[in-house]
Symmetry: C2
Subunit: 387 residues, 2 copies
């Protein structure tokens, strides 16, 4: 397999973008990624687009070809990749394999979701399609309810508190307030979270990531070509993915995601690294409890110690490991299919030293962790600045 | 890139399977493909699933993980690939690249669609999402209307007749009647087609492929390992994909699919073959005119001579090139995401000499051609029996 690097990145401002559509967001993100590495359209060999539910949300499938069409890039092969909320990560991995294989020399990977401005209840039902529709959503178990079960069990087994979960939101809002692309630009306090209304106990409004519109894109090249397009190419050291049962009731544990553990183990092996080597990580905090579980399952902290670590500031910028410097799904927003690609954009900015007011000093190794549904898919990538 | 071979194939009976669901069809097809090469689940490294619109049709996204889950294969990485009606072909190509890259040694590629038994008008609107939703479907241009425009123009430019289109349906029903997995098991006459009601003039009911339920699966391996699992591995000599504008009004031609032409050209180059070398081809006949355009765009016949070639029996079994021996989309049925994988299953059976009453004598080289929407995606694969 050839070594692969990211040479260009771009994203739209995430948010409730009522005046913007699916198409123009993707084009903006893609154009920014191309401009970031001075790439011309005719050099692009293939496009992969991560997007979860455009059929339900905007009535459009076939969005790989849509991107090629509206970016003026036909007849470049263009394919949509879907793994629910991990669609972006899965698209990145698919693009990575296409370059690693030798089949393509220049691949653009985009992620996008248009979630506001739907006529009815499409968002809740579309997101429910990330879990087991027959055994969960049809029975009334929406995603906040599913993650609330995990949170309750984590509290019981490990003594995790609602305040510790709240601290995840506080940290991620603080990081987001320093990111001009983030959905939320405001800091919040523990009190804001604790006084917000319960969505599904113990999860409150501020424990939940928002409904967001947005897009992100990266450009991949073989490492050997990358220096021609970027002064600071970021090498993808590892790309790993794993699956688990869609439905929570079929899992072995309520407090760990096996898919995350398996994908992380493979990724560390592939990179020849261990959790302590990671300087900066974008993890999948669709709910605050998800970030606590993620930093445990990824090996940054012992199982059960995640809540305490957050409470003690170990995951803040300047702490032991900076987690979700972009603001994460909670602060930066969660346009589902875009999230996995946005995570890569943020890590690239961190490793290049371009993360402005939220820069982690001396960040050398970064990790992204993207989860589909309640954990039936996990995708982990590890990156470093190429020497 | 490593050489890749298909070692196992399987499919369900295609049809209006009112008693069968999305999940069990995929499992049946996958299990048959595994049994076909005596493969055990623990040897599988990755799964790719081609499916177009399960979110709209059965309320379930995240169907890569669904397959891993219900086949008992977690934590194997599992990813859904979508390119509208070319989802199966795009999934095959994605699986091919994953093996060619060296990342995975054993990949299962499935294709599936559950299209009957939806509560409302989901099928028409979901299929409309394969075209340009904003510029076509919202304006009332459904797929029969779009292909009718192509047919009308082909008749004008090249003198193609309604009887020649009807002959495509007659041939494909005849082939389907010899395929126990086909949706339609009955032969029809030119008169049947000509007397059927107009759906969108000049296309009549029997010019249109049906709404079908079904699934198909193939197992991919590096060629060097393939002999251990199959006495007759089928090597994938070429895999190519191309895109075009989603909307018909943005295309340069109404009578050719540029995506097909570009993908075919790449595929022939990659395989070191020319159209005349192909013995058997499964092409995308969502409407009869589509088969006529396909056999021209793939280079089997000159542009404008496709209708005549069909009329003269050149595409029948025993003719110059056997086209759609499975019955094609018209006769075998068109469970959208399954079609591209089913095409590979049929070609493998032909190249192994296992196509029973529809066997093409001495078939050595086969081609599959899968189209998304009205031509915004085309995927072409060329295969031969490994020596």
């Amino acid at each position: 397999m050839r070594k692969v690097a990211i040479v260009g990145v771009g994203m739209t401002k995430f948010g409730e973008e009522w005046s913007r559509g699916y198409r123009d967001m993707l084009i903006e993100a893609g154009s920014r990624a191309l401009a970031d590495c001075n790439l011309h359209g005719e050099e692009i060999d293939a496009i992969y687009v991560g997007t979860m539910a455009p059929g339900s949300l905007v009535g459009q499938e076939h969005t790989g070809a849509l991107v090629a069409d509206f970016m003026g890039l036909t007849p470049v092969p263009a394919t949509r990749v879907e793994a629910a909320c991990a669609s972006g990560g899965a698209a990145l991995r698919t693009g990575y394999l296409a370059v690693a294989s030798g089949a393509h020399d220049c691949v653009v990977v985009g992620g996008v979701e248009k979630m506001t401005d739907t006529p009815g209840n499409e968002v809740a039902s579309a997101l429910g399609g990330a879990g087991d529709q027959e055994w969960e959503l049809f029975m009334g178990a929406s995603f906040p309810a599913i993650y609330a079960l995990m949170a309750r069990r984590h509290m019981l087994e490990h003594g995790t508190t609602e305040e510790q979960m709240a601290q995840v939101a506080v940290k991620n809002h603080s990081n987001a307030s320093k990111n001009k692309f983030a959905h939320f630009q405001n800091e919040i306090t523990i009190e804001t979270v604790m006084k917000s209304k319960y969505i599904s106990s113990p999860l409150k409004l501020f424990d939940c990531s928002p409904i967001t519109d947005g897009a992100a894109a990266v450009v991949l090249m073989p490492l050997e070509k990358a220096k021609r397009y970027s002064q600071m190419p970021i090498e993808i050291l590892a790309s790993a993915q794993a699956s688990d049962a869609l439905a929570l009731h079929s899992r072995e544990s309520l407090t760990s995601l096996r898919a995350t553990q398996v994908a992380a183990k493979k990724a560390y092996e592939m990179a020849g690294l261990k959790p302590a080597d990671i300087d900066v990580a974008e993890v999948h905090d669709c709910f605050t409890i998800a970030e606590i579980m993620a930093i445990e399952d990824l090996g940054f902290f012992e199982k059960g110690k995640g809540g305490k670590a957050v409470e003690e500031g170990k995951t803040a910028i300047g702490g032991e490991i900076a987690v979700n410097t972009s603001g994460g799904l909670k602060g930066c927003g969660h346009p589902v299919g875009a999230t996995g690609v946005k995570q890569a954009v943020e890590v690239v900015w961190q490793l290049r030293g371009q993360a402005e007011g939220r820069q982690v000093n001396g960040a050398k190794i970064g990790l992204t962790h993207n989860v589909g549904g309640s954990g039936a898919t996990a995708v982990v990538h590890i990156m470093k600045r190429a020497d």
